[in-house]
């Protein structure tokens, strides 16, 4: 007791101090690499275009889009079937997840490739069909479900199993004493993922599948902002009203009904499929066993190292940016701050920010700031930061503060943040993998990330190159995920809310 001095700044070994050091480390690392990022602001007069956009958003033209109900139905149908099949595949895999390295690696691989790239790949075989769309969601989702379900199952309370008599079979034990204990969590996660699937389903429209995104992207790209505005509103409404129409009694009927809209199913040309898998995806020299040719093939891949560098750089900056945005924004939607109207508005803003596709956010910033990494950075930070903020606010709402008379700043700093921070950081580190995946989508800004080159390879129909780059991307994602897992805070301040919401829900 003799040397109980006040500790130095950030010194000490408490949980939150360790977390704070870790976050500051992340931000410091981000600042260190910032000079390598291209952040020039080069624009002159964005206001005319922005004005047109705003006008469109405020005067949406709901009738401009033809077959809007059909597009909405397909968006929901793809999302629903993708989630459903992903769940059916992912669940058995979750049971094997901790036992088989192969299953873990396989899941990590399918997860690491963005839905849009799956769609581009499958498009070559199944064409523009519901099969492409549903498989593009199902495949990565199976991997995600396997991982998150496995994490949830791992947390199953042991007491009921211990209370069972000896000699109960594995299956009986599982369905009586294990599954019911985690059912609520599994189904809440599945529901959350369905919302993610809605977003992904819209995104699939960007590569030409006939969802809302198909029309949204065309209208936005061609500057028909009244139509784009209407479509965005429709999309926000669909997400916001999910609780109303996404009832568990209603969903099977929606799934069944949407089946009738999903056709025509493609005739799968076996020869074409085989050629694609066995020839098109592989470098020609490799198939011929021509090693020097392979070296040359390798040399033709444009700028691989800079692409990896850009991808990692943007990923790191996006992660640090999301942390700051999430810290600033979560009180907007929390019951501890403001009053009812401000919270409604706050929630609205967060839904808007996390539901607007990053690609659109990035385009708006591109107009304002000119081409550089800056628009992409802002878009990634805002989108992902808002998403994390939303989840953190939900966790915060489950906390009952000890003293009531605190001013808002003290409540934030002393009551809530210390309890939430571990969870927030865990969400962020989960999210890092997703952010890396998303950097791929921002190639249109002229930032040559891996995704930019993958998109090019698909456009030039050089599938072998695209496939190779996809493998590199997947490897990179897996590495980042492993790193994030290594530094993810494991021990969190123990609140009921955090136990109810596994951090896996950030992997949207």
């Amino acid at each position: 007791m003799s040397d109980e001095r006040a500790p130095g700044l950030l010194a000490g070994n408490s949980l939150n101090l360790r977390l704070a050091r870790r976050s500051l480390g992340l931000i410091a690392l981000c600042l260190m690499v910032l000079p390598f990022a291209d952040l020039a602001i080069t624009t002159h007069d964005p206001w005319a275009e922005l004005g047109r956009m705003l006008t469109g958003l405020l005067h949406p033209d709901i009738l401009a889009t033809e077959s809007l109900p059909h597009a909405i139905a397909l968006t929901i149908g793809f999302a629903l079937w993708g989630t459903l099949l992903g769940m059916l595949l992912g669940f058995p895999l979750a049971l094997l997840f901790h036992r088989s390295r192969l299953v873990r690696a396989g899941c990590a691989f399918v997860r690491a490739i963005h839905e849009l790239f799956w769609a581009l790949l499958l498009l070559q075989v199944f064409g523009l069909s519901a099969l492409t769309a549903i498989a593009a969601l199902t495949i990565p989702y199976a991997g995600i479900f396997a991982k998150v379900y496995a994490e949830i199952l791992e947390l199953t309370p042991r007491a009921p199993v211990d209370a069972l008599p000896e000699g109960v079979g594995r299956l009986s034990r599982f369905v009586y004493a294990e599954l019911p204990m985690v059912w609520a969590r599994l189904s809440s996660y599945t529901r959350y993922r369905f919302e993610c699937a809605m977003r992904s389903s819209v995104l699939l429209g960007f590569v030409g599948l006939p969802t809302l995104g198909f029309h949204l992207e065309s209208a936005f790209r061609e500057g028909r902002y009244a139509e784009a505005g209407a479509l965005l509103w429709v999309f926000y409404l669909m997400i916001a009203s999910l609780a109303l129409w996404g009832h568990r009694r209603l969903l099977p009927w929606i799934a069944l009904g949407s089946l009738f809209l999903l056709g025509p199913w493609p005739d799968i040309d076996g020869a074409l499929l085989w050629r694609f898998v066995s020839v098109d995806l592989w470098p020609k020299p490799l198939l011929e066993g021509n090693w020097s040719g392979l070296w040359q093939w390798f040399g033709e891949i444009p700028d691989l190292l800079p692409a990896i560098g850009n991808t990692l750089l943007l990923g790191l900056m996006g992660t640090a940016g999301s942390l700051l945005v999430a810290l600033l924004l979560w009180p907007l939607a929390s019951r501890h701050f403001g009053n009812r109207p401000t919270r409604m508005a706050g929630k609205g803003v967060l839904i808007l920010m996390r539901s607007t596709p990053e690609l659109m956010l990035a385009f708006i910033f591109l107009l304002v700031l000119g081409p550089s990494m800056l628009p992409a950075w802002l878009a990634l930070s805002l989108h992902n930061g808002a998403l994390i903020a939303f989840l953190v606010a939900r966790h915060a709402d489950a906390i009952v503060p000890g003293s009531h008379a605190l001013p808002a700043s003290a409540c934030y700093a002393y009551e809530l943040l210390p309890r939430l921070y571990g969870g927030l950081l865990a969400l962020l580190f989960y999210r890092a993998e997703t952010i890396i995946r998303e950097t791929a989508l921002l190639g249109m800004l002229g930032i040559a990330t891996l995704g930019f080159h993958i998109d090019s390879s698909f456009a030039y129909l050089m599938f072998d190159q695209a496939f190779f780059l996809l493998l590199v991307t997947a490897g990179l994602n897996i590495a980042v995920d492993a790193l994030a897992r290594r530094y993810r805070p494991r021990e969190t301040a123990d609140t009921a809310s955090e136990r109810d919401h596994p951090a896996g829900e950030a992997t949207c």
């Binding site: 007491a159 209370a163 008599p165 079979g169 009986s172």
Partner: protein, 230 residues
């Protein structure tokens, strides 16, 4: 009299540390044992070891109940005999209760004051009701020896006596951990007392007084004789 389990200078505990050292003890067939001692002294460890040794002969009612809250009272009790049916039968039973099992469990519930609650999820029950569901599950096992860990902690004294009588009517042999010292003397014929990792009391109930039992507790003599909450 036959001895069912015997410990001869054994050490019980978990992988890393010993909870009960140098334990010498025997459980006789037909013996009703009250297990006393302060919280954390190793009562649960001793019961778990007894359960292990007795295997199929022991019915088991753990301290935290080990119930599955989202499932109904019926299904929770049914789990007592889960190993008697095939996996398929168990699956079907989740959707549509077996008629014979339903009848038996209904009768059991009537005795335990749980009538009309069979279909209710355990999560909606009070603490006392849950305790009785846990006891019902153990009774439904129909075994020779009843092992119970603080079964009557959250139940009023009248109910507690009634439940103990019921359990003992069905099981000639039982070992039940408790805090209520009066019950130990009135409803059991033998007492094991634990303190500081040792068995310090192993005697017939009729030879003991409440004062003898007080020596098991560190704060003996204080006015607070209420059981600690489980």
């Amino acid at each position: 009299m036959k001895e069912l389990v015997h410990f001869d200078g054994e050490a019980l505990g978990h992988a890393r540390h010993t909870v009960l050292a140098d334990l010498t003890l025997g459980l006789q067939d037909g013996q009703r044992v009250a297990l006393l001692g302060p919280s954390g002294v190793g009562k649960s460890t001793l019961l778990a070891t007894l359960r292990e040794r007795l295997g199929q002969r022991a019915a088991w009612c753990p301290q935290e109940h080990g119930l599955v809250p989202p499932l109904s009272v019926y299904h929770n009790i049914y789990m007592g005999r889960l190993e008697h049916h095939s996996a398929l039968a168990n699956l079907v039973n989740l959707l549509r209760p077996r008629r014979d099992a339903w009848r038996d469990i209904q009768a059991l519930c009537a005795e335990l004051g749980l009538s009309g609650l069979l279909k209710r999820p355990v999560v909606q029950l009070s603490g006392g009701q849950r305790q009785r569901v846990a006891i019902a599950r153990a009774l439904y096992q129909v075994r020779d020896v009843f092992l119970g860990d603080e079964l009557v902690a959250s139940i009023d004294p009248y109910q507690a006596r009634r439940l103990l009588t019921m359990i003992q009517r069905q099981h000639a042999t039982c070992v039940i951990a408790l805090h209520q010292r009066e019950l130990a003397l009135t409803h059991f014929d033998h007492v094991w007392g634990l303190r500081d990792g040792q068995l310090i009391l192993d005697a017939p109930a009729h030879e003991l007084t409440l004062a003898d039992l007080d020596t098991l507790y560190p704060d003996a003599g204080s006015t607070d004789t209420r059981p600690e909450p489980a």
